[in-house]
């Protein structure tokens, strides 16, 4: 069965791009969230195998959503996918339980490598 992924990004363009990369490589995109609040809600409903998480978003940002998802499910696999690559953000995300940190703009292979490694385990 295809591994199920939830995409979180406020930009439609980014959701479409990530969805294309993932679905053309055999993953199923089960949901798309436009902000942190939606991501937390959809995570609970869909129980995906992995979540991609933007940081700069309206309503609730990705770091807060990451913390809430990890609080609800300590085993959640969340990969940050953001334009903000500052060391302090990376450290905060990893300390909060993110499994990987991808800085935009990215090459499709970078996403596939991160997702493949986490979902193979």
């Amino acid at each position: 069965m295809a591994k199920r992924i939830l995409i979180t990004d406020d930009a439609l363009f980014m959701r479409v791009t990530l969805k294309n990369i993932l679905t053309s490589n055999g993953y199923e995109v089960v949901g798309e969230a436009e902000n942190g609040t939606q991501a937390v809600k959809l995570y609970e409903e869909l129980k995906p195998d992995l979540v991609t998480m933007d940081i700069t978003m309206p309503e609730m940002d990705g770091l807060e959503a990451l913390k809430q998802i990890k609080a609800a499910d300590a085993n959640a696999k969340v990969v940050m996918c953001t334009a903000m690559g500052q060391k302090n953000m990376v450290v905060e995300a990893i300390q909060s339980g993110a499994k990987d940190f991808i800085v935009k703009p990215f090459q499709p292979d970078r996403v596939l490598e991160a997702v493949g490694k986490l979902l193979a385990a």
Partner: protein, 160 residues
């Protein structure tokens, strides 16, 4: 405004565009404006907050915006500047601002960015900050000219 605030935006623009669409942008001549103002048809407005604060506008013509969106969508034709095209252009601004913010952090300035806003229509002047603006034109082959207007200052001490 200090030129050191602008440099990250110039280098980030070139590297982000190169990663996204594989084209090398050429930088034009820097100019100054007394205020943050744009006469471009499509503008991405990004807020910068933190130790350096203000706004950056990435402006371009509608023709350039459609060509850029098409390139970002892997060559998919963009006959109308629809929601997906607008989102691609907004994300371009978000990625350049994010990347610039990373570089500013390395120079010792901690900043964050706000989600980008697209403003269409020429002759927009932003008057919430009275900060001089530096403008850098960037020529992207096959796409057109992108104008980056940077209006930033060191954070003012808040009155008690």
């Amino acid at each position: 405004m200090k030129v050191e605030y602008v440099t990250p935006f110039v280098s980030a623009s070139s590297s982000v565009i190169h990663t996204l669409i594989g084209l090398s942008a050429e930088r034009g001549k820097l100019s100054a404006r007394p205020q943050l103002f744009t006469s471009q048809q499509v503008n991405i407005v990004c807020g910068i907050t933190g130790e350096i604060e203000g706004q950056v506008i990435y402006g371009m013509s509608m023709v350039t915006a459609k060509k850029m969106a098409s390139k970002m969508l892997g060559g998919q034709p963009v006959p109308e500047f629809d929601q997906l095209a607008a989102s691609a252009i907004a994300e371009l601004g978000n990625m350049i601002s994010g990347s610039s913010s990373n570089q500013l952090f390395q120079s010792g300035f901690k900043t964050d960015i706000t989600p980008p806003t697209i403003v269409k229509g020429p002759n927009i002047s932003m008057s919430n900050f009275d900060i001089p603006t530096l403008v850098i034109p960037l020529n992207v082959p096959e796409v057109g000219e992108l104008e980056i207007a940077v209006s930033l200052r060191q954070r003012q001490k808040q009155a008690a």
